[in-house]
Amino acid sequence: MRTRLQTWSLLMGATAVLALPMTSSAQLTPADFEPRMNMESHIGNITGHAKDAKADYRRYCVSCHGELGDGNGESFPWVDPKPRDFQLGIFKCRSTPTGTLPTDQDLFDTIARGLDRSNMPQWSTFTKQERADLVAWVKHFSPRWVNEKPGTPITIPPEPEVTAERIKAGRDVYARVQCWKCHGVLGAANGPSAATLQDDLGRPIAAFNFTEGSRPKCGDADRDIYRIFMTGLDGTPMPSFADNIKPDEAWDMVFYLRTLMRQNSKAKEMAKQLGLKPVDPNAPAGQQ
């Protein structure tokens, strides 16, 4: 078949270019991670130790995340979205810029928060020490944690008071950077590009639907929402907007996003009183 041949030759091409072979995770065994078993995590004044998380991981995590941390556990075929491949060191929920490692605190928060609309529950059953140990364990699967440092967390200015002007300004940002291309003009995840979205592994993925009442994957506090669109969700189509939305505008955007959400909020109430209309995708740039 042509496609097969093409893939093959492409593969040959790609590999020939590689002076150093990519590590093929298929051949890795738990012994390969042994040298990084002294990995630590630092959450406030708690120090997590990878070796102390071994039992917890085997009991609670291994069925999805796999013995090798590659997300290929026994439950893999029945789980969607698929579990992370910890060997790649790529995470959605980060306070750090796109393309950088998250902080220990980011991973710690993700374990406790769980990931809404996935099979990852809230692991609030663990003690803080156990969670810190698990963060170190997660890190020991990828050499990236030895070779690189986590990115510098983005600066989030203090949250201003929500005003009608800010909500309107937020709507202009939503129009200008064209969030509606995927998330839709009403935030219902039905924009023109929504149907073809794929994650980095080529699997279909849905844009966040603001209208159905679910919680954003990486937290539903105002600061979490701010962080999500400014750092992007690595491994997914959601890009970072840090270069294109100023910090003050970002708060306007948070308030506007609140008006799209099903949950009641001060911003939603104000938008109702304003009679705020959704963005017009056909309006020329800067004219909403």
């Binding site: 093409q6 270019v17 002076a19 995927c182 840090a242 270069d243």
Partner: protein, 244 residues
């Protein structure tokens, strides 16, 4: 998983070949730069390049009102020359080029210009947008190589994004908003060139010596040729890919 096994089998074979080439290649790093030049052709009928339906973004479809967009996986000139083939010295053992040139990868009319961007390890490149529609620029390297994927938005009028890559790799680039947008970053070590519309290329700044030149084409894979570069006398290496 099966794929990964196949992958590693091919890998080990290639690594052996590469190592062999490295040992055999004798470099004479003397002053006086030579160059390697040639033409890359396609033998056989050019495959049909499907048209692209951009109707989901009116800005994009309007930009192509008078010149329909087509896939660019095989771009053949009137003389049979193959465009977008990257040529590089696969047994390069010199240092990275101190090239100050900043290659530009533009998003224009909802296509990547150029479709294939070659660069040296560590060389800064710039991603720009000429479009009045939002793109997200999303390269997908394998993080195990040391190249880390990132994903940045570029709304209309956005400032260029400047980046570089740490390791040799062929990296696919895509825009999730416009799923037809696919391009390549071909990161190599040492001097390189990309073929023009007629399939011609010239690798400049090659110190005299014996080299293996590799030609990479996204659909047809790679070919290699041995050349000897000398100061003041360009070495020639022509390649022909067979149409499939």
């Amino acid at each position: 998983m099966r794929n990964r096994f196949k992958y590693s089998a091919v890998l080990s074979a290639l690594v052996l070949v590469c190592c062999g080439a490295l040992i055999l290649g004798q470099h004479v790093n003397a002053a006086g730069e030579g160059k390697i030049t040639g033409t890359v052709k396609l033998d056989g009928a050019a495959p049909h390049m499907k048209g692209i339906d951009m109707s989901k973004d009116p800005y994009c479809s309007k930009a192509h009102e008078n010149s329909p967009a087509h896939l660019e996986t095989v771009v053949v000139g009137s003389n049979g020359g193959l465009q977008n083939v990257v040529l590089y010295i696969s047994d390069w053992s010199g240092t990275a080029q101190a090239s100050t040139a900043i290659p530009i990868f533009d998003q224009k009319n909802c296509m990547y210009t150029p479709h294939v961007l070659a660069m040296d390890v560590g060389q800064t490149f710039k991603v720009t947008t000429s479009d009045q529609t939002t793109h997200n620029i999303h390269p997908l390297p394998n993080p195990m190589t040391g190249n880390i994927p990132w994903n940045q938005s570029q709304p209309p009028g956005a400032a260029p994004v400047e980046k570089s890559w740490k390791a040799v790799e062929v990296i696919p680039v895509k825009c999730n908003i416009h799923p037809w947008m696919n391009g390549w970053y071909v990161v190599v070590k040492g001097p390189y060139a990309t073929t023009d519309a007629n399939g011609n290329y010239t690798i400049e700044n090659v110190p005299p010596g014996n080299y293996t030149v590799t030609a990479w084409q996204e659909t047809y894979g790679t070919q290699t040729a041995k050349v000897t570069a000398a100061a003041g006398k360009p070495a020639t290496a022509d390649f022909t890919f067979k149409a499939k």
